[in-house]
Amino acid sequence: MSTKKEIWVYAEQENGKLAGTVFELLSEGRKLAEKSGFTLCALLASADGKPMHQELFNYGAKKIYNVEDPKLVTYQNDYFAKVVDQLLKSEEPEIVLYGASTIGRSIAPTVAVMGWAGLTADCTELDFDTERNILLQTRPAFGGNIMATIICPDHRPQMATVRSNVFKKEKVGEAETGEVVDITVDLSDVPERMKRIESVEEEINMVDLKAAEYIVSGGRGIGGPENFDKIEKLASTLGGAVGASRATVDAGWISHHHQVGQTGKTVCPLIYVACGISGAIQHLAGMQSADLIIAINKDPDAPIFDVADFGLVGDLHEVVPEFTKQIEALKA
């Protein structure tokens, strides 16, 4: 295998705005680059790439493969897949990382089969084995019941999609520099088999769970929709957002935008407070990487206590308002 000693991060963008996970991927990619001695690069396919270059350099990219075409404004699988596939074949990087977003989860599996590349989905941990020169890709499977480390020994590139909010973003500096390689990809022969006619952001005015530093979540144990009040009060006192278990979403107590877990959002706040949540594996899958977990539950055997840093055994209807009160007092 005569591949280039490069680690690529797929710089997902729409309308000239880079996705947040790109910076998390670059930060993690930097650690892998250090360990492997490979060069960290970004692959940027867009209508106009230049305004995004500085940010990519600032987060550690040493080289940007820059592809521009008016067709690359917003995501369309056929166009972007052709770009990525062509570059993977001409440049032959060792490793490619994508965010596990709606877009990443379309493009990565498509280009994996366009070549014969291995692709590990939704990784939560990456490491590099310097002896065998392979990427160690660790991810939860079976709804989080088990962790598996996946490798791709004989095919290149080694590719992974990575969950958002699992790796921390760390800037290198404000005025980092690097190389830009412009590559042209001819998209005129790609048939227009699908067309986007509308794109709507529904969550604009909603608390952004993914960005929140503090999250207070309610589960079935809160007893009813009216009790999300108590949860909201604690959340706003902490300056954070409200999360929820699927049981409360299914019961119609709160909208699905708040759901945390395997089929909801993955979050990584500084503090996650789980109130009246039993700690089913599918819920844990979405919040386990929080820096600090506080669980409030009246059942001392609830599995949520297995992942908690602090467990408060008691009735949330008393504990949560008390928590709010004492923090308010602290802030006064």
């Binding site: 897949a81 939860p140 019941n145 480390t149 996946i150 794109s199 709507v200 503090i271 923090i327």
Partner: protein, 261 residues
């Protein structure tokens, strides 16, 4: 309209546990179910059929017992079922699964208008087989579909995104992966259930699909499992109990000590 739904039989992840000594899944006695997202894909197909007529075929690749999942799908209203099964297909990762399933779809005689998948399978959680098959089969694909309406030349599809939704026009034949919010599931129909029990389900194996031997099963899979282990448990946790006011006081003291508050 001919719709094919790819369904996978998976162990019920609610009931799987891990043996912390051997790091193996305790699968014995764990019931198998149709992958939950695939049920929504099937429901989407059945609703399209109810409205526009046509035929729904379910396809599953797996060991012989995957036939059960196919029978369940028949009892819900699918018209035909195909099992893709052969020892040589075993151990396939998503790449090899996509390749093998595609050969099965190509063997179906009637032209296919729409291929549906679940958003992801709950055992592997990879969400790769849908896009993989779409490419091998040569049709455009939209992930995370919530709604699908028939138009003159194809479909109008609502795709759930990280922050809202996109609306697409896609020409047929097309492939979609379907999310949970797409619909409410129907109950099996008693008469269909009886018929499903007796239905003939063809099994297509290696000789029927005539695949490139290098591209199937374990050896056709670029990814390999290097190691499995139990998720780590927090060791230095503190469990507090007693009066709410005291517990909270202690908690806040500790949080301040850690400088997180």
């Amino acid at each position: 309209m001919n719709i094919v739904v790819c369904i996978k039989q998976v162990p019920d992840s609610d009931k799987v546990t891990i043996d912390r000594e051997t790091n193996r899944l305790n699968r014995a006695g764990v019931p198998s179910i149709i992958n939950p997202f695939d049920e929504n894909a099937l429901e989407m197909a059945l609703q399209l059929k109810d409205k526009h007529g046509g035929k729904v075929t379910v396809v599953s690749m797996g060991p012989p017992q995957a036939e059960e999942a196919l029978r369940t799908a028949l009892s819900l209203g699918a018209d035909e079922a195909i099992l893709v099964s052969d020892r040589k297909f075993g151990g396939a990762d998503t790449w090899a699964t996509s390749y093998t399933l595609t050969l099965a779809l190509k063997k179906i005689k009637e032209p296919i208008d729409l291929i549906l998948f679940g958003k992801q399978a709950i055992d592997g959680d990879t969400a790769q087989v849908g896009p993989g098959v779409a490419h091998f089969y040569g049709v455009p694909m939209i992930t995370y579909a919530k709604e699908c309406e028939v138009t003159e030349n194809g479909f109008r599809v609502k795709q759930v995104t990280d922050r809202g939704y996109n609306l697409w026009e896609i020409e047929k034949p097309a492939a979609l992966t379907v999310v949970k919010e797409a619909n409410e599931l129907r109950m099996p129909n008693l008469r269909k259930k009886l018929a499903a029990k007796k239905a003939e389900i063809p099994c297509w194996g290696f000789d029927d699909l005539n695949p490139d031997e290098e591209k199937i099963g374990l050896s056709g899979s670029p990814t390999k499992v290097n190691k499995v282990f139990a998720p780590p448990i927090k060791l230095n946790k503190e469990i507090l109990s007693g009066e709410p006011a005291d517990m909270v006081k202690e908690l806040i003291f500790k949080l301040r000590e850690k400088k997180v508050l």
